[in-house]
């Protein structure tokens, strides 16, 4: 009952949130929600111990695929978004053959190279990828009404509700996967790979599974972004954007499900709202970098460690101990 109440209050707060914000903050909120899905999907991949530098490019695969499905084939936008996510997942399966011949640092570099190859393909082939200019004029999500609310997807509030519902559903699926036997096996693949292998776990298959699921949700995030902004280009998915995703994950922490989400929210609010409002717009890269270094120095376990410290319950004394005192 208590959990249900917390859930309902949380949901009500999320519904009310955009109405407390200015127009530009509502826009930032839309991108924040999409980035929450991106960074949470990234964490799923890190559960198996592999850190990729190609995750943002995979997000771009979902964005490009969904844009092309609507532009070239006339597929209905929500369906093309799902197909974009599936395309990203299938590409990840394909990439897993060369990439999972590597581990650790080599996988990191391999994933970067794979991502750059994909970006070069987008640049080289004007048909169908639009070359360096990318694809513009991507169909937006079609407006509709549910009686009590008219969804106008040019407006950030409408898109926030739409993207927010998809992201919440996606986070629930990711959460369920992590807590399932499959998720526990991901942990085993990371921390006890030899033991897991000895127990009959196919390490490569589980790494591929994590890579494909994470890529599918990253692709969905890309599709959500592409149909909102109306354009995709290779520069929107380059290594600089990937560095932001890594930063959110590292500053937030990856030990808990909420760590990267916390990192994404705190750093986005700081960078896009607080520093801009303080008139430090042009000094943001400097301040952002300094905060990142300081947080790594003084919060090596990420922002999630602060939450853990704040919510840790004090051990309750046993009755006999109480009597003795």
């Amino acid at each position: 009952m208590r959990n249900l109440s917390i859930l309902l209050v949380g949901l009500a707060a999320l519904i009310a949130l955009p109405h407390a914000l200015s127009f530009s903050q509502q826009e930032i909120l839309v991108f924040l929600v999409i980035n929450v899905l991106l960074v949470t999907s990234y964490r799923l991949l890190t559960l198996t111990g592999e850190w990729s530098l190609g995750h943002v490019v995979i997000m771009g695969v979902g964005a490009y695929a969904s844009a092309l499905y609507t532009k070239e084939l006339g597929i209905y936008v929500p369906v093309s978004m799902i197909l974009g996510a599936v395309t990203a997942a299938l590409l990840a399966v394909l990439l897993s053959f060369p990439l999972f011949r590597m581990k650790g640092f080599y996988f990191l570099i391999g994933s970067f190279a794979a991502g750059e190859i994909i970006r070069l393909i987008w640049k080289r082939f004007r048909e169908p990828f639009g070359g360096v200019r990318g694809i513009s004029g991507i169909d937006p999500m079609p407006d509709f009404s549910i009686g009590i609310y008219q969804f106008d997807f040019f407006e950030p509030v409408s898109y926030y509700y739409f993207a927010g519902a998809i992201v919440i559903a996606s986070l629930w699926v990711l959460w369920r996967i992590e807590k399932s036997p499959v998720g526990l096996t991901f942990h085993a693949v990371h921390w006890q790979d030899k033991l897991a292998q000895a127990s009959g776990v196919n390490l490569r298959a589980y790494r591929t599974l994590a890579f494909a699921i994470a890529s599918g949700f990253a692709g969905l995030a890309g599709a959500l972004q592409g149909h909102y902004v109306g354009t995709v280009n290779p520069n929107s998915f380059d290594i600089e954007v990937m560095v932001f995703v890594l930063t959110w994950a590292i500053v937030g922490g990856t030990q808990t499900f909420y760590g990267p989400i916390l990192g994404c929210i705190v750093l986005t609010v700081l960078n896009e709202i607080v520093l801009r409002e303080m008139g430090l717009e042009q000094a943001r890269p400097l301040i952002y970098g300094a905060i990142m270094i300081l947080s790594i120095l003084f919060l090596p376990n990420g922002l999630e460690s602060l939450v853990q410290k704040a919510t840790r319950r004090k051990p309750v004394a046993k009755p006999e101990e109480k009597a003795a005192t």
Binding site: A16, L21, F23, V229, T231, N235
Partner: protein, 429 residues
């Protein structure tokens, strides 16, 4: 700010702002500005990151422009005089952030006009422009298309003006007959490659190799330069490379012993290039963007107000920072101010109508609205453009040349190469 971000309900100010902007977007009667109330102009360009050199100096120039205009009484509209105030938003050359910035400038700050660099960022802003009818300007007319009815390119018709530099070179140094070219493989580099190819073909200069397109992430230019020099060209063309590329390429050309002619769209911070190479090496370097202390800009044909004084003030405040865009956004503001005063109103549709009524007062002389052939819409202001060469360590305007004259003679070559590189408006993704 964070408490505001987390507030459970809208504040009175947020409510009023929201209601006001919503009313505006619904096309309700607009409220006139009170006399003396500042007119806000949006500046939506990269102020940080790799492309900041084509945003930040422009904002610095605009602030000088605003101080001068405000000191002279501001802008005279039908309801009286108004000072000008700039509101900037750093879009980091990202389309999503550009959309957020456009939303903020229009719906929160109430700007009447927005200046952009354009390029990758324009497609993110276009839906906002379509919905609100806001007047935008770009420095990159390759953003123009028949759909961009509220977008104008009144300062720089990049890259079409590059033809003037090649034409001048062919006439003044006729012994130069062979060339090679390099460019970054992006939305700025490719249309410029097509333009230079057309210009070289029109001038009878042979290209010894296909243009060398390098990735924008390139940092080591030694192999690029080695390949450029391999065919022993007389001219090396640096296309529209960012200054982060022009500088190291010139250093490499110097170190690898190039003795020929260099031509480039820009040579921002050329004094630093001379320091890194030598005065002799940079002698005769041809590009397209003058210093505004040049006496040639004091001609009666020039429409930019007090270019020499503007340059002196800019250098006093931002020594060593003068670049290609330092004056461009300010020159757009000259045009916008003239159009608003002619219309008696700062409303975007009225200014647009007044701006396009007849010839335009471009910074380098009166010019025509043009572009149907290449951009599908006549929203680019095209006239004369200067050819600049470095002489004795200083940029000097050699001549003003007419872009429309060149296009009337060689427009078919331009279209051919633009099509080959997929840069015509109907070929964009």
């Amino acid at each position: 700010m964070i408490p505001k971000f987390l507030t459970a309900g809208p504040s009175r100010r947020t409510f009023l702002k929201t209601a006001g902007a919503a009313a505006a977007s619904l096309g309700l009667p607009r409220m006139a500005l009170a006399a003396g109330e500042p007119i806000k102009i949006g500046f939506l360009a990269p102020l940080t990151g790799a492309v900041a050199a084509w945003g930040k100096p422009g904002l610095d120039g605009c602030e000088i422009w605003a101080e001068r205009v405000n000191a002279a009484g501001g802008i005279q509209l039908a309801d009286g005089a108004h000072p000008i105030e700039f509101v900037s938003y750093d879009n980091e050359y990202d389309p999503a952030k550009a959309r957020t910035g456009a939303t903020k400038l229009i719906r929160e700050d109430g700007v009447k006009f927005i200046m952009m660099l354009g390029g990758d960022t324009w497609p993110g802003v276009q839906p906002v422009a379509d919905r609100t009818g806001m007047l935008f300007s770009t420095l990159l007319p390759s953003d123009l298309s028949p759909e961009t009815t509220t977008l104008v390119a009144p300062a720089e018709v990049h890259p079409i003006y590059n033809v003037t530099g090649v034409e001048w070179l062919a006439e003044n140094k006729p012994d130069l007959k062979t060339a090679v070219m390099c460019a970054q493989d992006d939305a700025l580099g490719l249309p410029s490659v097509a333009t230079y190819l057309a210009a070289f073909e029109a001038a009878g200069i042979e290209m010894l190799d296909e243009p060398l397109l390098f990735d924008p992430a390139t940092t080591d230019f030694a192999p690029v330069v080695t390949r450029l020099m391999a065919k022993n060209p007389q001219i090396i063309c640096l296309d529209t490379c960012y200054s982060d590329y022009v500088h190291p390429i010139c250093e490499q050309l110097f170190q690898q012993g190039f003795k020929g002619q260099i031509i480039s769209c820009t040579a921002d911070f050329y004094d630093q290039m001379i320091e890194k190479t030598s005065k002799d090496f940079m002698e005769g370097f041809v590009f397209q963007f003058p210093d505004f202390d040049d006496p040639a800009l004091n001609s009666d044909a020039i429409n930019f107000q007090d270019p020499n004084g503007f340059y002196a003030e800019y250098n006093k405040r931002h020594p060593g920072q003068w670049g290609a865009v330092s004056w461009e956004y300010a020159s757009i503001m000259d045009m916008w101010k003239a159009a608003a005063e002619k219309a008696g109103s700062a409303e975007p549709d009225a200014v647009m109508t007044a701006m396009k009524d007849g010839r335009g007062a471009h910074a380098f002389g009166d010019a025509d609205w043009w572009g149907k052939d290449l951009f599908g819409i006549d929203n680019a202001l095209v006239g004369d453009w200067p050819v600049v060469a470095i002489e004795n360590g200083k940029a000097v305007i050699k001549e003003f040349r007419s872009i429309p004259d060149w296009y009337n003679r060689h427009g078919d070559l331009m279209v051919k190469h633009m099509q080959a590189y997929g840069q015509m408006w109907d070929q964009r993704g």
